[in-house]
Amino acid sequence: MQSFGARLLERKWLFIALILILIIMPFFLSDFRTNLLGRYLAFAILVIGLDLLWGYTGVLSLGHGIFFGLGAYIMAMYLSMESMAGAVPDFMMWNGITELPWFWMVFSNPIVAILGAIMVPMIIATILAFFIFRNRIRDVYFTILTQALVLVTVTLIVSQQNVTGGTNGITGFSTIFGYSLSSPVTQQILYYISIGCLVGVFFLCSLLVNSRFGKALIAIRDGENRLRFSGYDTSMFKVLVFSVSAGIAGLAGMLFVTQVGIISPTMMGIIPSIEMILWVAIGGRGTLIGPVIGALLTNSAKTFFSETYPDFWLYFLGFIFVIIVIFLPGGLMSLTQKLKQRGGKHEKQAVSTEGKETNHSAVG
């Protein structure tokens, strides 16, 4: 084991290097590629919350597609209203609806929309988590229930197509806060806003996991009952973390829709939700930086594969799932860890009794 100080430094440097690369990327990439990378940034933000939940607290959610989707839908509703300037979207017209329903009208104000995209997922997550964790339902059951939530929500959105756009989703926005969405400048600004959000979320979550609260989360992951008998109401910790991660997912959804220009149920369904988990696993759960790298790499690979060998992507995805879980549960970050350990064997022994702070990268 390396001393935590050194590791934090390295992780910090890794992150700073990553951000610097992301900042200069638009100068080398076409507008189209930059826009793609911007979408991946949204995913990278999302997985930080997911890692907080799964990597640190040990709670696996297969339902984050929903929170992502809710954030995206709320932003999409706002963008539609801004672009339509009072008219109703096409799909409503076709269904003979002439007036916007109340849950659209609420988000006609940009500030309400932005807050709503984060708060609505948080509220739904809090309610669900409260009722499940309160009664100590097994964690596995929780995971299964989050998947059911996805199925239920997607079915609901599809069936209420006269107000949600059904399977086609919501699309066709032209402006954001008055700026044209099709202009490369706006897209670049959105790209940099995404980087800003990524840095902010990463910073906050790093603070959180390195605090005493973060230690409690790891303790929940490794011995929830023991922590309960140390005087902690662990259920409420899990509710809070689930809610925070849902809020982060909402933020990610919001950034996603502004850069992609469409949100539909297929982007928040069962498979996307579980793919998000894969990004975390590939990068290395319980490291925060790992999942960010995982999300960026996997999505770049996905784009590459689906452009060249579309049929192979699903095979590839499937194999990656199996291989990561069985052979590399610590993800890519554990590889760098191994390399480092091979490089500095004596250092490893020296610091094991001197290390200044916690080492909690280990994966249970």
Binding site: F131, R136, T143, Q147, G318, V322, V325, I326
Partner: protein, 297 residues
């Protein structure tokens, strides 16, 4: 109303067939098998293949009998693939439900894609045997023979499984390992063998479920995912390790689903069932039935 109850029982019986395998493997190995849905798909495509063989190589008069060969074929094919799955992937993941869930999801993706490569992405239809056309008329309602046949098939499969678990030596071993793995191993039960057999049986039953689904509608590579979430709900409601819990859970969810859908619509029905399950868990956090344990975790 009779019709609703009947439809509910019909749906519930299919869920039961799917959930049985899940409940057993979860109870026994603490493994969540997300590829279970794909084993259903394999059972369905096995039936499809048997049908094609019959229609191409055997006289038309024999055609109706294909289904009686299709059921055991579906069972065997799914069981073999399940065994292979257990041997290559699952055995690394005992006692790690969340990890097993992810790995088997990956396996599911591979199997789905394989089905797409072999049979094509569009759904294919399987022609039901002629003797299952029509229905039984009772007090003004027509109960389709297909549905009745499926219910009968489920009842027979269930009884066979119960007999196997409670009346045979192997079944006793399975139950012993389920209740206390260490102790059973100490007493000379080879838990490895038991795991493999159990997993194969659970997979085989999923195969039968797949064969049953071909009677209801066309089949496609993702047919399993359509049912798998509901089947997991059955396990959550029923609790693990007990056949009775699975039966009550499956019929309960089946009936409530049908009734709610009848009152509202398909999507609201699903929302209501989900809410009902959450409510139910407030009352019974570990499901209807569960084995108790004294350990801290």
């Amino acid at each position: 109303m009779i019709m609703q109850a009947f439809n509910g029982i019909s749906l519930g019986s299919i869920l039961l067939l799917i959930a049985l395998g899940l409940a057993i493997t979860f109870g026994l190995m603490k493994v969540i098998n997300m590829a279970h849905g794909e084993l259903i798909m394999i059972g369905a495509y096995s039936t499809y293949v048997v049908q094609i063989i019959f229609s191409q190589y055997l006289p038309a008069t024999m055609f109706d009998w294909y289904y009686f060969l299709a059921i055991p074929t579906a069972f065997v094919v799914a069981a073999l693939i399940g065994m292979l799955l257990e041997f290559t992937v699952i055995r690394h993941l005992y006692g790690r439900p969340l990890d097993s869930l992810l790995a088997t999801f990956g396996v599911g993706l591979i199997l789905q894609q394989a089905a797409r490569s072999i049979f094509g992405a569009p759904n294919v239809g399987v022609q039901s045997p002629g003797f299952l056309r029509g229905g039984l008329e009772i007090i003004g309602v027509t109960l389709p023979y297909i549905r009745l046949f499926i219910i009968a098939l489920v009842v027979i499969s269930f009884l066979a499984l119960a007999w196997f678990l409670y009346k045979t030596r192997t079944g006793r071993k399975i139950r012993a390992v389920m209740q206390n793995r260490e102790m059973a191993t100490c007493l000379g039960v080879s838990s490895r063998k038991v795991d493999t057999i159990t997993f194969a049986i659970g997979s085989g039953i999923a195969g039968i479920a797949g064969a049953a689904l071909t009677l209801i509608g066309p089949i496609g590579p993702t047919i399993g995912t359509y049912y798998i979430v509901d089947a997991f709900m059955v396990v959550v409601v029923g609790g693990v390790g007990m056949l009775m819990g699975t039966v009550v859970g499956a019929l309960g969810i089946g009936v409530f689903n049908t009734v709610f859908e009848y009152w509202t619509n398909a999507s609201m029905g699903k929302v209501l069932v989900f809410a009902l399950i959450i409510l139910f868990l407030q009352w019974r956090p570990s499901g209807l039935f569960s084995l108790q344990s004294r350990s801290l975790d």
